[in-house]
């Protein structure tokens, strides 16, 4: 089964959807997303555990003079992220079909293009291809937000776009430099080849910083998160669910796929800087999350904090940390999409307001919604027993063994997470009924979107091992070069200090 089908089927289906007349175009997004989801499940089932190499590889030479190949492949790093992407896009497509958009065919075309872009970025095994898909996946969101978004959408989305693209510009120049400066015969952008051709340390460092800038803007990480409040307020909620759920994870994945294997010396050199940025994201994001009153921004700032944990795990440069980062990426996406959906449900019951000061007492007459929300809240704050906790445990263990002080400070982020998550739940669902609240139970259609996601969260909580099994070998291979550099560095240090 070719990965190309998986990557391009959403776009193809969406293009066909443009031609569907009238009433049918409301559901135009669902067939493509469903097909991609089925294909992703098939891929996961047929994936052979334990081998570190790529599987289901497609490798065609694309631009021979520049050494760019159209190469797609799946291994432990991106397997579950691909599944997550397809699941989230399917859930959002179903969710989006509940609303009456203007020109729904066009809406779902952009949606399909976004999904193809994301899947391409996740499966690309060629640096140039990765950069192309990385930039491509952002373009549909410009149109989705600019046309169908909320107040102040144009200014917000242009700000977001420019900011992200500045980062992408840096990444592009760094990618070109990598291809050009890599020692060896001829020019190539294929990742597996580049991994064997190590760049000189000086080049590695500035290239690393450029890549880091691009990825950190995307996540977002403190202090490059300024686009987030306006952007999150402007996007329509189904779009925001996938944006927050999966696009930020592509950036984290990018670190593990591209940066760590290709620039190990720089990764070791800048380890403390990245850990510091991650820590700042955790603390700042959490503090902002429990003082803001807009429900979307609570989730937005909490994403800043959670992505901070993921970066922390990646740059612990230890296998348990990296494993934790991968599983946490999947977990966070799986939790944040239902959370945004619940925000939509809450707003519908509070007269359209998304401010938690205007909510309250919604749990009455909506026990199923309250239960689902409580489960999602507990998963969001990474309560032990959820898969999110396993991810956090592994991440913090990795950081503990690498640089213990960072781990100890990061734990305060865990406590703050419990405050902001539970605060949102209580202000929305409990206490006296808010001024504009008219509460009612979830409809069957709402349940169709929410219940499978919550069941997935619960299933994953019972058996997180499934993701850990498939990921282990690839993770070790990804951080291997960096770990080696680190060991060599400490060996030479000891030799210098010596007798």
């Amino acid at each position: 089964m070719s990965l190309s089908i998986l990557v391009w089927v959403p776009l193809a289906a969406a293009t066909v959807g443009l031609l569907v007349p009238g009433a049918g175009s409301r559901f135009a997004g669902i067939p493509g997303a469903a097909a991609a989801c089925v294909l992703a499940i098939v891929t996961v089932v047929r994936f052979k555990t334990g081998t570190p190499g790529l599987q289901f590889v497609t490798d065609e030479t694309w631009i021979a003079e520049l050494g760019i190949h159209y190469k797609l492949g799946v291994d432990g790093l991106n397997l579950f992220l691909i599944l997550l992407a397809t699941v989230l896009f399917l859930a959002s497509a179903i969710w989006a079909s509940f609303t009456e958009w203007e020109r729904p065919g066009l809406f779902f075309f952009w949606f399909g293009l976004a999904e193809s872009g994301v899947l391409g970025a996740l499966t690309a095994q060629d640096l140039a291809l990765f950069v192309i898909f990385f930039d491509l996946m952002l373009v549909p969101f410009l149109f989705l937000t600019g046309t169908w978004g909320g107040d102040n959408r144009v200014a917000a989305i242009i700000k977001l776009f420019i900011y992200t693209l500045v980062g992408s510009l840096l990444m592009l120049s760094a990618a070109i430099a990598t291809g050009v400066l890599a020692p060896g015969n001829g020019i190539t952008f294929v990742l597996s080849d580049l991994a064997t051709r190590r760049l000189p340390t000086g080049s590695q460092e500035w290239i690393f910083l450029f890549f880091a800038a691009a990825f950190l803007v995307k996540m977002p990480a403190f202090p490059l998160h300024g686009w987030m409040p306006d952007g999150y307020r402007a996007m329509p909620l189904p779009v925001l669910a996938v944006f927050s759920g999966i696009l930020s994870k592509v950036a984290a994945y990018g670190f593990l796929r591209v940066v760590l294997p290709l620039y190990p010396n720089a990764s070791v050199h800048f380890q403390e800087l990245m850990l510091l940025i991650a820590l700042a994201s955790i603390l700042y994001g959490s503090a902002m999350a429990f003082t803001t009153t807009n429900a979307r921004l609570i989730l937005g700032y909490s994403s800043v904090a959670q992505l901070g944990f993921i970066v922390l795990g990646i740059f612990s440069l230890r296998p348990e940390g990296a494993q934790g980062a991968i599983i946490q990426a999947v977990n966070h996406g799986l939790v944040v999409a239902p959370a945004f959906f619940i925000v939509a449900l809450l707003a519908a019951r509070a007269g359209g307001a998304e401010d938690i000061r205007l909510m309250g007492g919604i749990a009455f007459r909506a026990p199923v919604l309250a239960t689902m929300f409580l489960i999602v809240t507990f998963a969001l704050l990474a309560m032990p027993g959820s898969s999110n906790f396993v991810g956090e445990f592994l991440i913090l263990l990795g950081v503990f063994r690498a640089k213990i002080v960072f781990a100890i400070i990061a734990f305060s982020g865990v406590v703050m997470a419990s405050v902001y998550a539970l605060r949102m739940f209580i202000r929305a669902m409990h206490n006296r009924v808010g001024p504009q609240v008219a509460t009612r139970e979830m409809s069957f259609a709402d349940g169709l979107v929410l219940v499978p996601l919550v069941l997935a969260i619960l299933a994953f909580a019972l058996y997180p091992q499934i993701a850990l099994n498939k990921g282990q070998a690839s993770v070790v291979r990804s951080i291997g070069p960096a770990v080696q550099v680190q060991q060599q560095a400490s060996a030479t240090q000891h030799a210098e200090v010596g007798p």
Binding site: M288, M383, F411, R423
Partner: protein, 667 residues
């Protein structure tokens, strides 16, 4: 035995899921019965498993059963496994036994409440979590159980979620619990760093080799485990959530905040005893904090006016005894006190619930009095519980408390201070316990009592929140409009009677010099413990006599102050006004935590919102690149003036320039 062991865990979980899924379908009687039967079944399976365990040879009584791999990767070996050994079976028996009785009590107590099904589902979930905690065979599963118990506690404290007081109490309890979780996880890291395995038995086996006595790693690890224990068991300074947790319905207070959840810290230290024995500094910290808590809580109990809060502070104090005991090495004594305390404290809470119902929801002792004639059964239960709590023979509390203090005395050295503190605490315990009983039941009968003597139950004119006094919106239907007292509700009476019997005779399992049933039962779990336990006879006799004397003295003092000479307490308040203020304000812990933790965090968040976000991030970092790009494009745009003649001129002169250039070049 494996099936029984797993079923202990699964019965409450199944009960929770069945009740939860069918919340609209089952009628109230079925829900109550289902919930109680689920826990009773778990109790039966626990008994079964214990009997099978006893059939095995003494050195084979620590068995691990594994279900599947949970998080096995990169050196971490966490599996879904349970450990069946005397300690976990002891805890399981106490938890399921007392829980069954409390479920029975709740069937009647919460009758008429709109959230009836929700209550039983949550309560079953709690029992499942607690059993997971005590049966866990590795650190990760213990932490999962620990957190689930905290979550269940939150859900039950804020059960009547219309009350802002209840929801604030819930989030406070939860956040402090998470702080404990963090301590637990960090402690696990320190221990795992050296032991390389998360499994309990594996870690304990390796402990002598990898943890030199008093090394930094094991001391740090144990201290952090203590943070977890203190948060869960409401020890100073992480105790501020427990009094507020009384917002939950009374059965919740009885089960979670008296008998089971708060004892998890005691279980933790007992389970980790091989590690604590290698970190004497941490063990000493535990003992000192336990002693401090028992005194501080005792003093606050003297002045608090809310009936449930008196019992709450009493719980805090008694758990101080248990923590002090297990930290110092008196494992069996500490666990013995855990069991007896579960009996008489649950009994006291149940009886308190009965009194509060009779008062129509009012919990303030100042407004109570003279219920002796109206509620004889409840009064009898209070007396039995009070006698057990005060440590008066032959009630169970007497034996268990003195065992702990005996070990303190045996160890000598600076532990004599703890010995004295313990007995001082016993004296205070007797005083505040009987203060509570005398104020509620003796003296002049208040209106609800007189109504009850006439035969009808008092109902307040408008439903109100007992903590804040504000009126409730009962259109939502809860808290239920009905009040149930023990004298009129058979399930309540049955549960309370059984507990009263247990509180009376419970001490029989470990009477010094006579029976050693508990000691023998728990022996396999504490084999190899380096703490010597050979009671010195003189010390034993002195302790027993001292305990009895102080208990009776306390009753007498309470009787004098609150019954014989009614104005005495007012005079004493005036004379010791500074102390009184200190106690009434709970030693200012809440204010201290607010100042040190809450305010800085909120300040940081607000500073971020208003200043940092706006100025730095938005204007500089985002506005910057954005602005530069905009300025650049504005500059370029100036060339597109739409002015035809400018275009023509540019075209012409451009061509001329290029042509001249090539001309001159070729020349």
């Amino acid at each position: 035995m494996q099936a029984s062991a797993w079923l202990i865990l699964l019965c409450p979980l199944i009960g929770c899921i069945v009740i939860g899924l069918g919340y609209r379908v089952w009628p109230a009687r079925v829900v109550g019965a289902l919930g109680t039967v689920a826990i009773a079944a778990a109790f039966v399976f626990a008994v079964n498993a214990t009997l099978h365990l006893q059939d095995r040879a003494e050195d084979q009584r620590q068995v691990v059963y594994t279900a599947w791999d949970y998080a096995v990767t990169a050196g971490v070996d966490a599996k879904l496994s349970i450990l069946v050994d005397p300690l976990s079976m002891f805890m399981a028996l106490v938890v399921t036994g007392v829980s069954t009785l409390i479920h029975l009590y709740s069937i009647a107590y919460l009758g008429g409440d709109r959230g009836y099904a929700r209550f039983f589902a949550y309560l079953n979930f709690f029992v499942f979590s607690m059993l997971l905690l005590v049966l866990a065979a590795n650190f990760l599963l213990l932490i999962v159980g620990w957190a689930f118990v905290g979550a269940a506690s939150y859900m039950l404290i804020s059960f009547w979620y219309r009350r802002t007081t209840a929801t604030s109490a819930g989030i406070k309890a939860f956040v402090i619990n998470v702080l404990g979780d963090v301590g637990l996880v960090l402690g696990t890291f320190f221990i795992f760093k050296q032991s390389g395995t998360l499994d309990f038995l594996g870690t304990f086996a390796k402990a002598p080799q990898v943890f030199p006595k008093g090394s930094a790693d094991i001391t740090a690890g144990c201290l952090l485990l203590l943070v977890g224990a203190f948060a869960k068991s409401a020890q100073v300074p992480l105790h501020t959530w427990l009094p507020d947790a009384m917002e939950g319905p009374t059965p919740v207070s009885a089960l979670i905040h008296a008998a089971t959840m708060v004892t998890a810290g005691v279980y933790l230290i007992a389970r980790m005893h091989p590690l604590f024995e290698r970190a004497p500094a941490a063990a000493d910290v535990g003992a000192i904090v336990g002693a401090a808590t028992l005194l501080i809580a005792g003093t606050i109990g003297l002045v608090v006016t809310d009936l449930k809060r008196v019992i709450a502070y009493s719980t805090m104090s008694q758990i101080g005894y248990m923590i002090m005991g297990v930290s110092a090495g008196a494992y069996v004594a500490g666990l013995f006190h855990l069991m007896t305390h579960a009996f008489f404290k649950a009994l006291l809470f149940m009886a308190a619930g009965s009194v509060i119902s009779a008062m129509g929801g009012e919990q303030n002792l100042d407004k109570m009095g003279g219920f002796r004639k109206a509620m004889p059964f409840t009064y009898a239960c209070f007396i039995v519980g009070g006698l057990a709590l005060s440590g008066i023979p032959p009630f169970s509390g007497f034996f268990s408390k003195d065992e702990i203090l005996l070990v303190m005395g045996e160890q000598g050295g600076w532990k004599w201070a703890l010995y004295v503190a313990g007995y001082l605490g016993a004296f205070l315990t007797a005083i505040y316990t009987w203060r509570m009983i005398f104020r509620a039941f003796h003296g002049e009968a208040v209106e609800p009592a007189r109504d009850l003597e006439d035969g009808h139950l008092y109902h307040p004119p408008a439903p109100f929140n007992p903590a804040s006094g504000e009126e409730e919106d009962v259109e939502v239907g809860f808290p239920g409009p009905e009040h149930h007292i023990a004298e009129r509700a058979m399930p309540m009476k049955a549960a309370m009677s059984l507990l009263a019997v247990l509180a009376t005779i419970g001490g029989v399992v470990l009477i010094p010099k006579t029976t050693t049933w508990l000691d023998d039962f728990l022996e396999p779990s504490f084999r190899g413990s380096s703490v010597v336990a050979n009671p010195d006879d003189t010390l034993l006799v002195i302790g027993l006599i001292l305990g009895t004397v102080l208990g009776l003295l306390g009753v007498f003092v309470a009787y004098t102050i609150w019954v014989r000479r009614p104005g005495t307490s007012a005079r004493w308040v005036e004379r010791f006004s500074f102390l009184h203020r200190l106690f009434v304000n709970k030693w200012y812990f809440d204010e201290l935590i607010d100042l040190l933790v809450v305010r800085p965090a909120l300040w940081f968040g607000r500073w971020g919102q208003q200043t940092f976000e706006r100025v730095f991030v938005n204007n500089a970092l985002v506005g910057g690149p954005s602005g530069i790009v905009r300025a650049g494009s504005a500059a370029v745009r100036a060339a597109q003036s739409g002015f035809l003649r400018a275009y023509a001129a540019l075209l012409l002169f451009g061509v001329v320039a290029v042509g001249l250039y090539f001309l001159i070049q070729s020349a």
